[in-house]
Symmetry: D2
Subunit: 410 residues, 4 copies
């Protein structure tokens, strides 16, 4: 695709090459997994084998050493062209390990970090194709900053009890990154291995789209974990500032999956319209409108990723809260822009398909459903994004974690 | 629902009361039929039993005697609140019998009409709960005014061969209203009973939405029909002017199904938000935007229906082509306005649901898919409607059948 | 214009005929008054002479006897095709006298009404071409339901002091209908004759559009008025329920002026495009989109006007507050729909003009500015309409006067 | 402004600093020039004095040496925050001299170039504060690629006759860059000094917005120019490929002026809302929506400018036509995205202002009119952009000059 996003680092180039290859393979089976509402275990095995899942693990620990958020954005957008469900899961996994790797190089970062020894263990496990991360922080009926899942001191560690929802990627995951309540007033960040007795992955995801993302519930039924795997992250109420960098990067990389889906829809449409007959002016105009949306999404994701690389990359100093708020505002802008543009683009593709895209046999009908998942995703849902962005711009709200604290899941 | 559309005729009142009752029943099973991609045979049996399907049959022939297009619009919008798939099928069936009844009272109407005796036979069959109509005029790869299905003289009648697509309601239908090619230059209008040897209903409908509408293919494999059941309708190329009144009324009544779906979505949302907690300003504003769209859709459907009643109702004189074009322009305006408003409204409902509507267990996720079918429907697709309306307004195009002539199905 | 709104009463027919005639005349000078930022005194003199300004005065008092809100909507939309500034002023004047006439027939209406004798005096003065009303209720910095203008008992009547803003029509007005504060807790409704010493019309209106509407400030500098001309209307804080019917009718009739402006723009565009050369598909499509917006605006204004006629017309019973809230919600829906559609329509006209409409010599450039005034108008501004409508729909707010109470002017 | 565009070159930094300074000064008088429909001679004198107008002249010839299109975009966006009218004129002037400087370094560029000696003369004149360029290529009633203005051989040079329209900046210009017809089949590129006998600048610009841009007509009444100042550029019909690089760069830099206007409107709104009282959620959300539009406009302008720098900058090889088409498509995407976002942003600012922005005394009312000029500007008007972009994407049109050839001015 002309003028598509390209990477800026060598680790990125390798990762993007793998993403392109995987996308071509995954595109073949995406409709089947969608129809069967099945988790694409084969896709995840392939991503493991190729080393793609170790992309953000440092080279010295056995990974591909991708550190650029910009290039992570590019890689996920490419992968999403093949299978959006797999891409959003991969986005979360790669961001989680990007974060663990980032913690390792900057122990002074004001973040909730497990001990360096544990970081290395997890990163090495990922490099050895033995770790897949699942971000299990959402719950039904509680805001992000106020989880009902508890971690209570027990023995030499903690006992974790609760139920998480929207755990994308959970059927394949080996490590669950969760938020827990520590005592009355504190929120903690916990890593729970899948093998922990009491942990159950329900595989109950059944939704309009991203049906192969495995975003079901995970139950912690008195899971005993080591003390080092639960880290205090901040007071109850708002999204813990300590995990804001993870949140921002995660949101932006996730948004790029929606760009990839819209690029794929536009490509399918272009192929469908290039049969040897005339294309009506109205259809051409829709293709043109889509190009505008795709061009702007690419640009705003890339520019924002560079802003994050400059401010959150290895070696950058800590940011004060007011700057984190400004940065989160900018991430939200890119996030909403890309997700809305993706929805609009696929909708136009459907219209320009003249009805063909409405049939189940056409991947467009899946893309129409998949792409609609974007605006619900944490922590920047369409219901609070605009007002939050405006409040930060107006100087009325400088707490970067507030929207998450207020947000409730269905 | 406050300020909902109400009927203006006594035949309408009876019909709307039935529609409300059926809608309440059908709402219970709509999600199941959707999930199973199954045709709702039970719904159609119930519509038969209650007499709803005989709504537009004259009272003296045993029907409910509904003649007002306005009230037909109201009834279908109500039925659609329960199950959109069933409602669009019922819209087509009722419009077809409205048309046959209208032909009967006005033999001078410039339309393609079977002999009065046959009209009465069909209308009486409908009143006796023995007839369900299917409008089988679309084909893959040919425009509406240029069908590839042929009717060739054979014996004392015609032999019909071809394949029709998007035959909503075909699994339940007993009469197939089709367009055929008569010789090299003429288009004909044919009625083919289901019992005709060679007629096959494929039940192969599988699409993004309106999955229970049974809109699959119908094959005519040398179907022998009586001479009176094939009527010349006009020259090949444009939609036969003789069936324009049917087309207009059909389009408007069909559009009202989409209003009903959006009213249903808004109602579901309102119930979901009325739990005893605060509703965020952004969610309130979305509900408010929806009210505006619903109010305008109701108004434009009702006003246009009254315009049709005044100009196409029993006893009205023939309209010259230029007035038919103006009227069709107005129908297209109402049609596009209502269908687009319905899509936008359900989309806002999904957003305001905070994600809950995205789950398969929530009827909203079905409505989101169902309502997207509107803009593809013949003869006013979103790809040609705007330019056509503008051309008529500019006096550049006064042929009311042109858009259909050009239209191609996927 | 095909399918334009037509009237339903004989008083309406006469009034609409006059409106059409005046519109043709006013169209000639509209650009000049705009350029000179001048009040069109000549227009108002002509409206007086023809009897148009007495349209809503009962026949027995010498007026045209127009009672239908629907037909008032039609008449104002027609007048606005000639000069939007004059039309919005005429809308306010006619609504004010419609209200006074309505009060006269229903003394039991729960409204703030001057004594019947005074009503008759004012209505007769209007019939004798001696009265023009100005609705002077807005102030800078205070909400509608909490005016800073005071009426203090003085002598046998009241002394009124304060400053009103956005007093459309003030240069020509002879009667100023105002809101005042009565003591600490009450809002009153006052009628102040122009000849009252201390009353000054500042003629300081200078804005982006509706430049000839004379919507400047009016100062009450200790104006002494008779006791009967100040009537208690309700507690401070919300828009007095007693004047809600006036508010609703006024808002809807005013909104119809914006429909008229958009019809005029579409007409100008159609004429410009009908030169003997080809019109590009994109321009045709824009004309088509406009037809849709115009059709829906006409329909929603007409339907809502009929709803008001049925519920607020002469002889109708009092409405409880919850029904007034529902009705106001519906008026707000029509109001926002029509005003937004008008803005969008004129914007498309500008685009389709290919740049010609951007020149000052083209009336389109004035219409683009005039039509933008709609969303600011009291009591339904674009900043609170959506949330208010949604709140009423959700049953969260049943106070029909709330939005006005909160609203602040710039 | 946080996250505003910043420059990437040292020449850029100097130029942007000047732009900021000038913008602060020009903001003071922008409303006055607008009201008086006067050309801001003082602004142009100030831009001359400071050296800003010599920004794109090479350092060795006395200019600031700005070569980066990206930084030109930044500089013009900053200047436009003060006075949009002056900024669009400066955009055209600076692009013209950027182009002349670019020609000088790459004589092999497939462009219509005056001899190197003349290039140097013009560039030096600009550095000496003696040259201001006006791009005079539009005419009423002819497409860009088919001018009616003729250049006929006369004496040792050419005699130029015709009338150009929309000559932004003409009151201050000393050099007029024009298109002419050479014989029957060829289009030429001419440079006409202001002092040429027969040249008349009409100063007749009077439009809705950018009223201080001096975009009136210029008449060539038998203007005799030297042979070297008229260069063949290509066959009649399409925009001469030889000037495509100028066209692309010009369009992108011009578009950035509209970004600047929207940034200014958002800033004015933010200041207005930061008074010590609560800002309603609806207003916050509008500010948030604006931030998204501003963020995407910045990103897409910057990314596209970098694409142009990489492909059209000094030292880059010639591009084949198909790549020029792709590049022009991308420029059109950025162009339409930025201009539309600017219109939407200022419109939201007006709404969020609560009516205050509608008054003539508020700069917002000027910005609302100024920003609407964008979509009419050559060669990418809103009427052909979408279809053209789509056609290029679909491979149906690879002629980068076509849209211009078809475009007609009002």
């Amino acid at each position: 695709m002309e003028f598509e996003l390209g990477c800026v680092s060598s680790g990125g180039a390798q990762c993007v090459e793998l993403a392109d290859k995987h996308a071509a393979d995954f595109a073949v089976t995406a409709d089947r997994f969608d129809r069967d509402n099945a988790f694409p275990t084969d896709n995840w095995a392939a991503l493991q084998r190729s080393g793609f899942l170790a992309a953000t693990v440092p080279v010295d620990l056995g990974g591909l050493g991708l550190r650029s958020i910009h290039d992570l954005v590019v890689a996920i957008s490419r992968l999403a062209r093949g299978d959006g469900s797999t891409a959003i899961g991969a986005a979360m996994h790669l961001t989680a390990f990007w974060y663990l790797a980032r913690l390792r190089t900057s122990p002074s970062w004001p973040v909730a970090a497990p001990p360096a020894r544990h970081l290395d263990l997890m990163l090495r496990a990922c490099a050895r194709r033995r770790a897949i991360a699942c971000v299990a922080i959402s719950e039904r009926g509680t805001p992000l900053g106020n989880p009902a899942t508890t971690a209570e001191p027990a023995g030499s560690g903690y006992r974790i009890s609760g139920r998480k929802a929207f755990c994308t990627n959970s059927p394949a995951a080996t490590l669950f990154l969760s938020t827990v309540r520590l005592g009355a007033d504190e929120v903690g960040f916990a890593v729970v291995p899948r093998t922990t007795p009491g942990l159950r992955v329900l595989e109950n995801w059944d939704a309009l789209g991203v049906r192969a993302s495995g975003s079901g519930d995970v139950v912690f039924d008195g899971c005993q974990v080591a003390q080092e795997m639960v880290v205090p992250a901040g007071p109850v109420g708002a999204l813990p500032p300590a995990i804001l960098p993870l949140t921002m990067v995660g949101a932006l990389v996730l948004a790029s999956a929606f760009l990839g889906m819209s690029e794929q829809a536009q490509d399918l449409l272009t192929q469908a319209l290039s049969r040897p007959r005339s294309v009506r002016p109205a259809a051409r105009a829709l293709v043109g409108e889509n190009e505008i949306d795709i061009a702007t999404s690419r640009a705003v994701l890339a520019r924002t990723a560079v802003l994050l690389d400059e401010r959150l990359g290895a070696g950058t100093p800590d940011l004060p809260a007011v700057e984190l708020a400004g940065l989160m505002r900018e991430v939200q802008c890119a996030n909403m822009a890309a997700k809305r543009a993706a929805i609009t683009t696929v909708d136009r593709c459907l219209t320009a398909s003249g009805g063909g895209g409405y049939l189940s046999s056409n991947p467009m009908s899946r893309l129409y459903r998949d792409v609609r998942a974007g605006p619900f995703m944490q922590p920047f849902s369409a219901l609070d994004a605009f007002e939050y962005i405006g409040s930060v711009r107006l100087g009325l709200d400088r707490d970067p974690g507030r929207p998450n604290g207020e947000r409730e899941l269905p």
